[in-house]
Symmetry: D2
């Protein structure tokens, strides 16, 4: 088990969210906590979990878990598995001052709503351990796309991973584990030394033109324009590009279309490819947060 573990039984409400929050509720119940859900009524049936029609009693919870991102359009709670509209202001009215709320990607307006009510709102998406845990399903999502799209086996394929942060590290490792010949492009000497220590070839991120024509697949993880038209022109025909970088992404997709380069922008992979694992990662992170808060 990763990180902190919760020794005592808690009363937890999971309010809104998608399959990750639904699975999270079930996993919390499996750990022995009393779990209530609200605004998840159209999701799957959850074993051992109490589905509530109102927020009555939520103010007694040891912890409330809110979605990732917490806010949908129009200052509503992000609740794709609910039939109702749930203004965030109303949701927040249901809690007691000082109560611990864990949410993902807290928006300015939700932070203000929480502050006005004296709620202790904390962001689990900013935790490094969650970002690390999410790198695994992200890398597996990239593998899946590559397996679906490439006419060659990953074994023996030449793969360039641009960027050597969390996602870059795990992605490079997974492709190499399947027998791909992996190179990593980075800027910092220390990152290049790490890539060497792991057995990858190395390239300089700022100087890719002239070195791209050998790759069957380029996976970008850097949220900055590293694959502009001149880099895309340098790719060999049939080379696949997968962009894992959050907005604004790293690929000039217009140029890619013009040049006939297949480029796929794959965002938010953890919730899509492995909702149960993504829910478990959020659970572990919330345990860590509660442990630090002394809950």
């Amino acid at each position: 088990m990763e990180g902190a573990s919760m020794k005592h039984e808690m009363n937890i409400w999971v309010v809104g969210g998608d399959m990750r929050q639904a699975k999270l509720a079930e996993l919390l119940s499996d750990d022995g906590h009393t779990v209530h859900t609200y605004a998840l009524e159209r999701g799957p049936e959850l074993y051992g979990v109490l589905s509530e029609e109102t927020l009555e009693g939520a103010a007694l919870a040891d912890c409330v878990v809110l979605p990732l991102p917490v806010e949908g359009e129009g200052s509503l709670l992000n609740a794709p598995l609910s039939a109702g509209r749930h203004p965030l202001a109303e949701i927040f009215n249901a809690f007691r001052p000082g109560q611990v709320l864990c949410a993902g990607r807290i928006s300015q307006s939700s932070a203000t709503l929480a502050a006005e009510r004296g709620l202790m709102l904390r962001d689990y998406f900013q935790r490094e351990e969650l970002a690390v845990a999410n790198a695994v399903p992200t890398a597996e999502g990239a593998l899946q796309i590559a397996l679906e799209e490439l006419p060659v086996t990953l074994h023996g394929a030449r793969v360039l991973v641009i960027g050597y942060g969390r996602v870059g590290k795990v992605t490079a490792q997974r492709f190499a584990a399947l027998g791909a010949k992996v190179s990593v492009a980075a800027r910092k000497f220390a990152d290049l030394a790490w890539a060497e220590a792991m057995g990858y070839g190395v390239e300089q991120t700022g100087a890719l033109v002239g070195w791209l024509c050998g790759y069957d697949l380029v996976v970008n993880t850097v949220p900055a324009r590293v694959l502009s038209e001149k880099e895309l022109r340098d790719l060999k025909p049939g080379c696949l590009v997968i962009d894992l970088a959050s907005k604004p992404g790293g690929v000039d997709f217009e140029a890619a279309t013009r040049l006939g380069v297949r480029a796929i922008w794959a965002l938010s992979l953890p919730g899509k490819v492995a909702p149960v694992s993504a829910g478990r990662a959020i659970k572990n992170t919330i345990y860590n947060m509660l442990s630090e808060l002394g809950v």
Copy 2:
């Protein structure tokens, strides 16, 4: 480069087949041979390859490559990328006595046709090196299905691979490389010792009931009924079954449907998931065969 390499330029005809044969034609041309194709006219444009409308001149070829399997329905050449109907007997009439023909899964009738004409018809699908090479795209196909279907990451997933032949060995290795906790079920003590030496858990193929409830995924590679109703009942809810075994397969699919077990029978994966790699494997095998024949 694997196996034998061809030092001299040859004249090769590729007659019929699917994307694998098409890509094979292109790869042969890349190696410097003169390559003619016939009955592949609806396939992709092939760089450097001569697309022929008749078999005139085919009798001069150093080697003729026929499809896998060689025979389609009704004693016709297996030619899904051709608009025409090509009776095998007519095709074989175009060749000269003693000419070398390499085909896959040679049927009894095509063997007879070849013998009547004095053709030297050889089966590349019976070659062990091709079977080994095909284990890689087969394992990658299994990975792809698992990534698409499972709600958990392969990292940390509990996977049972039944059978430890060619496909079982490569499949176990690939799942383990992605962080799955892999067990192997086999019958022979030596196979179990190999699985241990590779770091896998082990089970007895004939005594699986009672030991199946921990797995998220079961991949069968044994072409015999190893997962009958009583084994399927023992799986945990949500466990995915992928059957890679050729007919008759290893799963009681009727029972699986009845029990609500998701079971996917995935056949002929190499040509589907990686036609270029599958074509290259056939090419290498044909080089080995020609080298042994002294061509």
Copy 3:
């Protein structure tokens, strides 16, 4: 647990042998059997094991374990951890007709002695699962020698493994796992295809001259003269040669000395580098043998 497991408590005698048999006695006792030892009195103290001064009572054993090899010089029991001389004939007199004896590398004379007395003498060293299990400590022994001798890291080192049988397979895999660039030399196309499927470079065993100058390390596993003077001349200065092949070995050591090539003949590594693991492998094998015999 590998292979068969013994459900009932047995009475086992371990007679003679080295550290492997001593550790084996302890492991058998850990499994709940009653274990007696004889002719191991100068070995380490063994927890839970009965050290005997005579063979009285040995005829009652469910199984007697003899050394590997069973015979030392002069028709004596191989007993390096005993102060005494133990003629095999006398040892065998202590057992009852039909009694099961498991020994390693049974010599002609010991087979005859056993047959004369109606003993059921079986060779555990001929079992494939033991050979497989021993490939692991053999490969680790090769790693140890390479780490001790080479002035470069194994990470990035260029390593050629000659032969792709049991020891070749595990050795190639272990060096590659540490980041070495591994090539495998073999003769059979299927072996070369396997090496490719595992991601290694490939060479032809019979045609190495001209292709050897790039390697930092050559590990031979073939018990035939594959590295004669002309191959040794082709190595780059400083290249290390480790010969794991049993007699007659695969290296012309005289030529190596003459040419200044460092060549190390490493025999019987399992008992030397990992006696506990080697003992455990023998234990598992004996369980399998007893299971097949219905003991």
Copy 4:
């Protein structure tokens, strides 16, 4: 090739040091530079390198490479491969103001000497890319000790790596690659998440007592007393401890002796186990430094 590469030929002096500096001189010469050595005269013969008897001409060098550490006892140059005594002050007198000197572990006194003479003295040992590169031979050194000392194979051995910095990461990865069951102990949630993402078990560094009895090997990388008497008491008999941490180390060695725990303090492994690789890592680092300085 890692990091920066030098496009033009330089004039480089390598002054003092051990086998790493000797090999570095040879590698610099292999790259096409003009290389002079001084105070390395008792080392191996270096191909293509000019061994000098005085420092005459050293003031013309584009770069001077000094040892790691630069200073030996008594304010002398650290020069174990020289017969002479070389006071640092005299050495530094031979260079010109503004000249670039690269040294390892620059002492206060040598920094002062350099400043007084207007020399541009830079420390290559403080560079992160060198620390990363050195993690590889350090981890291989730990493997070598474990292979030499343990009576079990690393395959299947239970190994705890304490600390998940540079050396911890590479060490855990190498042991796992050989089939060991690896756990990592760390303090930070993010480090524990990384260890999980790599497939290791996890422990809390500050709370090891009660969780240590399963390990065959504990490798410490944390330079703080993490294995005091109470942790050492918790180890199982025969457990090996390897301490890779620099002074003051992480093990109470006195307590270990008292308790009969085998504990090995392994320092400065890169230069000992792989001087050529260590020299190459210094070379790459110096290239990076010169590239940043515009030399």
